[in-house]
């Protein structure tokens, strides 16, 4: 089976695991989705839900060992990136699919000038040389809003502030005009005013450069403003997927619903004395339960949830959930009590 015709990137049944002294960590447990041309996909989840590991798997950047992509396919331009040669991947990485990270120092080399790091990328991927490459670097720094780019191109990463490094990393990632940008929590370590600057910058560049984007975050607020579709990830599974409007207006997976209900909102007056948290904590990825991974925290859980893990299934146009119950009508109980029955 080849790539779906309407997809730019297609992830199919991806499974990634880590072998540790304590056992096998089930980080990504068979996720499938398509990214369409020009689309921005938000992927939301907490730490340890596999959202970053899934992105590193697409880029084939999983450290092996201890990590291993155990199964699955990642189609890009009608070929499976998981089967591509390392030489081939070098052109895809950075050239076709670029990635930006939470900590810019993970992608910036501390002993190389910012300019050199950008020229290296455009030399490799776009065949620019010498003056042309340097000019491209200056143009990119200017585009991301770094003042005096002709001078700053000679600076080292440590001479930049946190927000500036983030911009430099974005300049480097976009210098090759990639088709897809994967943004892995790029604003998490930043203050809200700087986050607003970076989100504004990336969305403007996305539109100018006509890129598709995967934006990974734990912050339900950030993706509400920039994504076309949103997927929610939990314990290595995709549990809900819908258009951005639909998922916030009509969340149907108990986890998504729980997250949205537990967060106070900056634009709303306090309505309840107490917040409404999701009880408990995520399951141990070394020892996943046989049924639904959310069962022990779910106020809607029924017997079936203990035994069978639901697959992502369509419940309405463009809306899919992995859940046996309908949260609109199902009775609720205290989370965890299903074990007592």
């Amino acid at each position: 089976m080849g790539q779906a015709p309407d997809s730019l990137l297609e992830v199919r049944d991806l499974v990634t695991q880590f072998n540790t002294e304590d056992g096998t960590v089930h980080a990504v447990n068979g996720i499938s989705y398509s990214l369409h041309d020009g689309e921005t996909m938000g992927i939301v989840g907490e730490s340890g839900c596999g959202k970053s590991v899934h992105a590193l798997s697409i880029m084939r950047l999983i450290p092996t060992p201890p990590g291993k992509i155990v199964a699955g396919q990642v189609f890009y331009q009608r070929r499976d990136l998981l089967q591509a040669s390392e030489e081939d991947m070098r052109h895809v990485r950075g050239g076709e699919i670029a990635m930006i990270f939470q900590d810019p120092m993970t992608s910036l080399n501390p002993v190389m000038t910012i300019g050199r790091q950008i020229t290296e990328a455009v030399e490799l991927h776009r065949g620019l040389k010498g003056k042309a490459a340097t000019n491209r670097a200056i143009e990119m720094l200017e585009m991301v809003g770094i003042p005096e780019p002709a001078q700053r191109v000679k600076s080292y990463p440590h001479e930049f502030s946190g927000g500036m490094r983030q911009r430099a990393m974005i300049a480097m990632a976009l210098s090759t005009e990639p088709t897809i940008l994967i943004a892995d929590e790029p604003t998490t370590a930043l203050d809200v005013t700087i986050q607003a600057q970076i989100v504004d910058l990336v969305t403007r560049l996305r539109d100018t450069l006509e890129m598709s984007m995967i934006w990974i975050t734990h912050d339900l607020g950030v993706v509400a403003g920039l994504a076309d579709r949103v997927q929610v990830m939990y314990a290595g599974f995709l549990v809900e997927r819908a258009s951005v409007k639909e998922i916030y207006a009509n969340p149907r997976h108990p986890y998504t619903l729980g997250l949205l209900n537990s967060l106070p909102r900056v634009d709303r007056r306090k309505t309840h004395k107490r917040l409404n948290p999701i009880p408990g904590r995520p399951p141990d990825l070394l020892d996943l339960p046989p049924g639904c991974p959310f069962v022990s925290r779910c106020p809607f859980a029924i017997e079936r949830c203990l035994e069978e893990n639901p697959q992502l299934e369509r419940i309405a146009d463009g809306h899919e959930i992995a859940c046996w119950v309908d949260v609109r009508s199902a009775p609720t109980h205290e989370a965890g009590v299903v074990f007592l029955s």
């Binding site: 734990h218 607020g221 403003g225 909102r265 306090k270």
Partner: protein
């Protein structure tokens, strides 16, 4: 007493500068003005939120109030006493009633100590009770913060982030404090765990009549938990008032930008929202601008803002603002 409320903590003209040394003689060549002249009160039983960007001096201010840093200038009163005038012994005794909860539940707990040793350490330091009494007190405290007392012999690494934060809360409660500085207590926790810890802090406040200084950058959570909010920018308080007043009617351009920058988990709201995108970043606190500290990023700065620093004034009832532009708009006397 003000508006029928008792000030548990009173901060008067407090500055905290950290000297910068350079050269082989380690000569002092300047100072980082982390806190640069702030005055406010924290009323008994309230939660005062302290918000603003990193580098604004929030944590330094919290620690200076607890005398973990000695203020460079100014006075801090706790229960009416000038903390700077106390002897070492008196300060130690008073400190039992003011505690801190840290941001990072990983680095703030000694990994080689059991939970029991961690939570009972303040009791041992203050020589309270014998071993059995301390043990009983630890059980009571763990129960209070929602941890199973049977886990008292375990080590911090055996607990999740949210549980570790509960251990930190239990330790802070050991000496029956009346005042707690909560320094970003939920920032390091996962979204689904944050609400659990916030509920715990609120329950404890109600049952133990605690007063909180809640330092945070999550403005959504601050709106939920705080009675009043102080907004800090580059070592100064630029706006201070009741929470709903600040959120509904922010007057300082920095507060306005800060609130507008917080994303809302609702696409229909996000679509309509006008975001104020501030230029640039927080200036270096070793070399703050002349005039108002915010003038390098302010969208409405005008002549007086570049000459002298505006004072924090009560321009609206209970609502204090330090801004010439707002003063002009509201009072029209500049």
């Amino acid at each position: 007493m003000k508006n029928g409320k008792i000030a548990l903590v009173r901060v008067e003209g407090v500055k905290k500068y950290f000297p910068i040394h350079s050269g082989i003689l380690r000569r002092e060549i300047g100072a980082v003005k982390a806190v640069d002249g702030v005055s406010f009160e924290i009323y008994e039983g309230e939660t005062l939120g302290l918000v603003g960007e990193s580098g604004g001096g929030k944590s330094t201010l919290g620690r200076t109030i607890l005398q973990l840093h000695k203020p460079t200038e100014g006075t801090i009163y706790f229960e009416g006493q000038d903390l700077g005038s106390l002897s070492k012994d008196e300060l130690r005794r008073t400190r039992a009633r003011m505690q801190i909860i840290f941001q990072d539940p990983y680095s703030s707990l000694n990994p080689r100590m059991t939970v029991e040793a961690i939570v009972s350490e303040p009791l041992a330091v203050h020589k309270i009770g014998n071993q059995n009494e301390r043990r009983a007190r630890v059980d009571e405290l763990l129960d209070r913060v929602g941890l199973n007392p049977a886990f008292a012999n375990r080590f911090p690494h055996e607990f999740s982030g949210g549980q570790r934060q509960r251990i930190g809360v239990a330790r802070a409660l050991a000496l029956n404090p009346s005042f707690i500085v909560a320094d970003e207590p939920i920032s390091a926790l996962d979204v689904s765990i944050q609400a659990q810890v916030v509920n715990l802090l609120e329950d404890l406040q109600d049952s133990l009549n605690l007063t909180y200084l809640f330092i945070a950058h999550d403005l959504s959570m601050v709106r939920h938990i705080c009675d009043r909010v102080a907004v800090m920018y580059l070592g100064k308080i630029v706006e201070l008032g009741p929470t709903e007043e600040i959120y509904n009617n922010p007057q300082h351009p920095y507060t306005q930008a800060l609130l507008s920058a917080v994303p809302v988990p609702d696409p229909s709201v996000e679509e309509r929202r006008q975001r104020i995108i501030l230029k640039g970043e927080v200036p270096n606190p070793a070399n703050p601008p002349v005039g108002c500290n915010f003038n390098t990023r302010c969208p409405v700065a005008f002549d007086p803002c570049f000459v002298e620093d505006p004072e924090l004034k009560e321009l609206l009832p209970l609502h204090h603002i330090s801004c010439y532009y707002a003063e002009n708009e509201l009072v029209g006397n500049t």
